[in-house]
Symmetry: C2
Subunit: 211 residues, 2 copies
């Protein structure tokens, strides 16, 4: 697919494509071969028009009678969001949360895999958690370079997040997913996504309070 077109896909569509793929993989495993836009929409709690718009953006055309071919669509989404030769990820902070993510991710995606964990706790160094080898943070640059890691997930406590992000950037990480409660700063050329569970929970609590 044309690079220029891919570059113009909005963030939100990228997120939804990822979600569509997950839903489609489940449908495929249930033996379905085709699906209508309104079926996808219902699963994702959005409208059918939205689904068709997204598929329009990536240039996919469905069949009028049977809807979209699930296998083809999964493949097409793969060509857009996956990297040809796979991407490697490291987790910074192998506490409860780091372990949870490693376990959650184990073997879910061929082209995106967690290959290293970093921590400072000597009891964890040298062990393997959910199939992910744990190294001391001091070896970050060495391992990142050796393992060709470009993406890092921050799961250290809030007060260490800023410092950790600095190390990641210095070692050549180009994409950071920050799950700590502290926002971090990165250079322009590093993609940063931050998510805080407390904010989400407070939001839910707010709307529950307001009925």
């Amino acid at each position: 697919m044309d690079q220029d077109i891919i570059k113009k896909i909005p963030h939100k569509t990228i997120e939804r494509l990822s979600q569509y793929r997950r839903a489609l993989l489940i449908c495929l495993s249930q033996g379905k071969t085709h699906i209508f836009s309104h079926e996808v929409a219902e699963i994702q709690h959005i409208t059918a028009v939205q689904v068709r718009r997204d598929l329009m953006l990536i240039g996919y055309s469905g069949n009028l009678r049977r809807g979209y071919n699930i296998k083809d669509l999964i493949a097409l989404i793969g060509t857009i969001i996956d990297s040809q030769d796979g991407q490697r990820v490291a987790v910074f902070g192998m506490g409860n949360f780091g372990r949870a993510i490693s376990a959650y991710f184990e073997g879910r995606r061929e082209r995106l895999s967690i290959v290293a964990g970093f921590d400072v706790n000597p009891q964890k160094i040298g062990t393997s958690i959910a199939g992910v080898p744990v190294y001391h943070i001091d070896r970050a640059c060495e391992i990142i370079s050796k393992e060709k890691i470009k993406i890092g997930i921050i799961t250290v406590p809030g007060n260490q997040a800023v410092e950790t992000a600095k190390i990641m950037v210095d070692c050549g990480i180009k994409g950071i997913l920050n799950y700590s409660p502290s926002p971090v700063k990165v250079p322009e050329d590093v993609f940063l996504e931050e998510y805080d569970m407390i904010t989400s929970l407070e939001k839910v609590a707010f709307y529950v309070k307001e009925h």
Copy 2:
């Protein structure tokens, strides 16, 4: 603050208010008493105008010379997003992720606390994880009613999410935060927020791939 005004605050502003408060609490603990909009903005990676807009929406006025009074602002945000008499939360699925959330949350907010965990693993039932007592899922309705729980977090494996959400709704939960990879369906009057870590990671990976 006037209820009608609160109802009109957009979702995004609510999220940012939660984030502002977190940042402000840190500033307060560092001994600062006042802060400018551009300082808040920088922490959150947004613009100063955006911050001022949000504060305008909630009717807060700063001091021209010194900016915003941190203590007052924290208090005001509290009156908007917190519930007067506190809200109680349950975690469904005390695996790695459920444990991580419980630990992460322990003692962070007075007005929002995790008071129960549910699981099916007999080894966990009756124990306490990160200060949260664990019950068998069969007792969900009993405990939810007794503990006056209105909010639930789903951290069960994807294939059990739909079923778990059903139980939650049936037991009277009014707000759900779904961290499982499977979207769930809930009635109109239940507030639902879904977040999937794989989607976020795929998004980061996509933008790293695209430079």
